[in-house]
Symmetry: C2
Subunit: 214 residues, 2 copies
DNA sequence: AGCGTCATGACAGTTCATGACATCACTGCT
DNA sequence: AGCAGTGATGTCATGAACTGTCATGACGCT
């Protein structure tokens, strides 16, 4: 699929390589320029020098072209869960997952992420798809947790919380004036999340005021 | 089809009333029977005794018909946030939101919810849309929190956690052998969520500050 | 009676998405 | 060398999802 295994003086392939990459790049450009609705799959294919039919061989639908590479993003988080030290508590694994995932977003990627975020945020259909991707991440993290022996309600809640923290931190990471790294922002968000619950291990169901905002 | 019908002394509408309800009911039936892909908007409209064009006047797209009434569901949670006692901590408000939301799902609704869940779960396009709805709920809860004066990272995290807890509890509520009410399951899930974080300050990796602000 | 509104029907047009089949370079086997 | 297989692509055709536009007929208001 990807690189045709390059030999030495290998004759140029019948087709330009990297069709998938060209398609997703073209899609991002065009949607950024014209908006999602006004960009047709035919235009995207044309800019990539391919036919519309080929577009749909690489991507299940028009939106999917904007989400290429999401698997590596997910892997960054999941691998960190898998690679966490033996015997680590679910909490420690969650922290490790966030740290591992943050490596996927070095500062160099911030500008590109801003652009992509602008595009995704511009249309509900794209936000919708992004939510599906993030839900997949939560599921994968939870599954990896379970694989480590974490019990059930806990694994799912950890996966969901992982995504919650990522999302909040990521949104902040993209802010124009923000300079801190994603890892630090995730750490901060996680602290705020734990700060939500009352400190004492008492029952949760009754109101218990500690520190309120006002 | 559009029998003007029934008119006693009452002013009767030109068309059968409840077009929207008939459409969403027809959609749920047909998708349950045939699957989402094999159900056309024309079929749905026909079963409701309406034209396809009218379907799109009531719903923005094919999926939306399966999500009618979601606004009242959201309102159940948001109203509880708004109506929570003055001065309650963010945590207490979150608990109140969950309790208020649970009233929207009495046991009588469980069977219907199971059917609907089966339908939604059967196709990624529908799960996608559900995620968008739940993201909207999280945003609304967060906004209502902010309205109460809750500070920013906290409000968003509370909204997201509200949805996380709901989702985990709801999934369990629908299980065939489950008999407990949604409120109890949410309470349980919330306990598990708080149990995730280490109890003692500063036990794991990240620095942990108790009460910020004030 | 006249008039505007509003939910609907009817019909045509565009875009998305997929299935069936052909093409062409490269690969590997004989 | 020759030839069948493979894989990414193109072409054509079709159906289904939406959208724009105009027409209709009952309703309420004056």
């Amino acid at each position: 699929m990807s690189v045709p295994a390059i030999g030495y003086g290998v004759p140029v392939a019948r087709w330009e390589p990297g069709a998938r990459e060209r398609l997703s790049a073209a899609a991002l450009e065009l949607v950024d320029e014209q908006g999602f609705d006004d960009t047709t799959t035919a235009q995207v294919a044309a800019r990539a020098g391919l036919s519309e039919r080929t577009f749909f061989r690489h991507f299940a639908d028009k939106r999917e072209a904007l989400f290429a590479g999401g698997d590596r993003f997910e892997a960054a988080y999941v691998d960190a869960v898998v690679g966490a030290p033996q015997g680590a508590s679910p909490w420690a694994v969650l922290v490790a997952a966030l740290e591992g995932g943050a490596t996927f977003f070095p500062d160099e990627r911030r500008e590109h992420s801003r652009r992509r975020d602008r595009v995704i945020s511009s249309h509900p259909a794209l936000r919708e798809r992004e939510l599906l991707k993030l839900a997949g991440l939560a599921r994968s993290v939870a599954a990896a947790m379970r694989e480590r022996g974490v019990d059930e309600p806990t694994a799912t809640l950890a996966g969901e919380s992982c995504v919650t923290v990522f999302r909040v931190a990521f949104e902040r990471w993209l802010r124009p004036d923000e300079t801190r790294g994603l890892a630090a922002l995730q750490s901060e968000a996680l602290d705020h999340l734990t700060g939500l619950a009352p400190q004492a291990p008492g029952s949760s169901s009754t109101s218990r005021q500690e520190c309120s905002g006002s």
